[in-house]
């Protein structure tokens, strides 16, 4: 009988003789079918038969699941799990009589051979293996993963208990990976762009008018460079002096925000006010002071803590243009009721 021949078959390899076996099986199936009907099985075996068939189908489905769920495991060259599954399938097939079970067997074969193909490709690769897990670990180190010492710390930034990635992690990686790409450079302006449109309309709130227009971007006016070169030292001194005032004022009451306009405006001299704005912009540029809008959308200024200066340098800075005219200056003085200047004029300077 064909069945006995099948038992003497060579031990299965990973899917290499798949097609042959499937073909042979089909013949078996065809033989078995008519034989069974000719024999005229009694009713008792019919019930047993149905039960047995259900069992077979369920076992096949289990095997298919096993292969699908434990893919990684089965692929590993250390285990023989795939062979075990196929041997199990062989045993099951002995009892298969009908097309339905055979179809499941065929399905299992397809899944197993696919796995077998993958396993075979692993065998053929020469040279070092590449393990994505190890790769990921190396990448994490490269991106600056901070591995926490104690497990008690709260995980931050989407990290697990084993450390968190710094904010610029992906930027760091991208910077390094850039050289692998031959991308055409994208166009962007070197010095930032000017919005050519007129400044945004002034917003009138109930209490105060926001006087000068504030653009979303700030850049240093190009004039600045020239001044810097010729009066560098004097400017630096001024900037430092102003930083001193800012810190002093801030220290007096750290909780109350310092209104930017109150800070820079000198009610006695318009030109001094403009100079103050100019020097203050240096502080902002260097990250020593920061500006923000308070609850009434009015600009406020505050010094940056010592520790924060480093962190701030890597994050993106926004730019903005501030303009002020004589008329605006007067309006500001009236609106904010500025009586005297926070920044005292230097004694030695000639007005």
């Amino acid at each position: 009988m064909k069945k006995s021949r099948r038992n003497e078959e060579a031990p299965r390899q990973n899917g290499s003789t798949g097609r042959g076996r499937a073909g042979q099986r089909q013949n078996d199936e065809v033989q078995a079918g008519p034989e069974a009907s000719r024999a005229g099985l009694p009713e008792e075996s019919d019930d047993n038969d149905l039960g047995r068939r259900r069992e077979i189908r369920s076992k096949y489905r289990d095997l298919i699941n096993t292969v699908q769920q434990n893919r990684e495991d089965m692929l590993s060259p250390a285990t023989d799990k795939l062979t075990e599954v196929l041997e199990e399938a062989n045993k099951l097939f002995k009892d298969v009589r009908r097309a339905r079970e055979a179809a499941l067997d065929a399905q299992l074969l397809v899944v197993a051979t696919d796995l077998g193909k993958e396993k075979a490709s692993q065998l053929f690769s020469e040279g070092s293996a590449f393990d994505p897990t190890a790769f990921a670990e190396h990448l994490l180190s490269f991106m600056g993963l901070n591995r926490l010492e104690d497990g008690d710390d709260d995980p931050q930034n989407g990290g697990g208990a084993d450390g968190y990635l710094p904010r610029d992690a992906w930027h760091r990686l991208s910077r390094r990976a850039e050289c692998c790409f031959r991308t055409a450079p994208s166009f962007h302006y070197m010095m930032g762009s000017f919005h050519a449109e007129p400044p945004a309309p002034k917003q009138k709130t109930e209490r105060q008018r926001k006087a000068p227009s504030k653009e979303a971007k700030r850049i240093m006016p190009t004039q600045l460079k020239k001044m810097e070169e010729s009066h560098q030292e004097a400017t630096e001194k001024e900037v430092e002096r102003i930083l001193g005032y800012l810190k002093m004022y801030y220290e007096e009451d750290p909780t109350s925000p310092i209104s930017y306009y109150e800070f820079v405006i000198d009610p006695n001299s318009f030109s001094r006010t403009v100079e103050n704005i100019f020097h203050t912009s240096f502080l902002i540029r260097d990250g020593l002071a920061r500006m923000y809008l308070d609850g009434d959308k009015l600009p406020c200024i505050a010094p940056v803590e010592e520790g924060d200066i480093e962190a701030a340098s890597s994050s993106s800075r926004k730019q903005c243009i501030i303009s002020i005219s004589l008329k605006t200056w007067k309006e500001l003085i009236d609106t904010f009721e500025i009586k005297d200047s926070i920044i005292q004029p230097p004694e030695s300077q000639n007005e």
């Binding site: 397809v110 994505p132 992906w170 850039e178 692998c180 790409f181 991308t183 166009f187 993106s316």
Partner: protein, 237 residues
């Protein structure tokens, strides 16, 4: 004489239009690359777009569409000689083009440092793993690797947003990746391959070099990949 003049005239017109086109071509490149006529910090984070003939003809070439091939040829030459950019047809059916950098990367850092696009890092990881695994990899390998890097395809990522969409749609659309269904898989699975654009733009040799640095191994120890990198870099020239 008149014929010659007519031809000259036409030649001048073509030249002029090709210059005009080149200028507007460059402008449209910028438009297409940055997605907006002006420049804000945000737009630098877009990967450069594909240029399609359809768009070009509609917005740029317009009336000169019958000399379109000539215009393209001249524009390509200008790009190559003046800017060092190669205009490559990435899809001959739909006539889509990309611009790639023909120049060798300088050893020293560039004079103008623009902020690095984090998506590039993500793309590098996927292309890198795919390459090291022989050029084809099942999607689970990629998702698992990304998960270890704190990028979960099922969740919204702080930097990348909808990661699955970015990888399987955006990167594929940009021709950096191919996301192909594997037959007979239940539930449906896909595999990743390098896209045409990656084949042209990305240097396998440089990827291998970086791998070597990360793993502290000699790149040549991955013999198959090393061979592949050698042959692909010669075909990229």
């Amino acid at each position: 004489m008149r014929v010659v003049r007519a031809w000259l005239g036409k030649g001048v017109a073509i030249l002029r239009s090709s210059l005009k086109v080149t200028r507007s071509f460059i402008n449209s490149c910028r438009f297409l690359q940055n997605g907006s006529p002006d420049d804000t910090q945000e737009t630098v984070f877009r990967l450069s777009e594909l240029l399609s003939e359809q768009n070009l003809v509609k917005h740029v070439v317009k009336d000169y569409r019958n000399v379109y091939p000539e215009i393209m040829k001249r524009a390509a030459r200008t790009f190559e000689q003046v800017f060092g950019l190669k205009l490559v047809e990435i899809d001959s059916k739909h006539h889509t083009y990309i611009l790639i950098n023909n120049l060798e990367a300088a050893d020293r850092p560039p004079p103008v440092q623009c902020p690095a696009n984090p998506k590039l890092g993500l793309l590098f990881v996927i292309l890198g793993v795919t390459f090291m695994k022989g050029g084809v990899v099942r999607e689970n390998v990629i998702w698992n690797t990304l998960k270890k890097l704190r990028v979960d395809s099922g969740e919204k990522h702080e930097e990348f947003g909808d990661v699955k969409r970015l990888v399987t749609e955006e990167f594929v659309r940009q021709r950096y990746l191919e996301y192909v269904r594997i037959p007979h898989t239940e539930p449906m699975e896909h595999e990743f391959r390098w896209g045409q654009r990656a084949d042209m733009e990305v240097s396998k040799a440089k990827i291998l070099e970086f791998m070597g640095q990360l793993h502290e191994q000699d790149p040549q120890s991955w013999t198959q990949q090393f061979r592949e990198a050698q042959s692909s870099s010669s075909s990229q020239r």
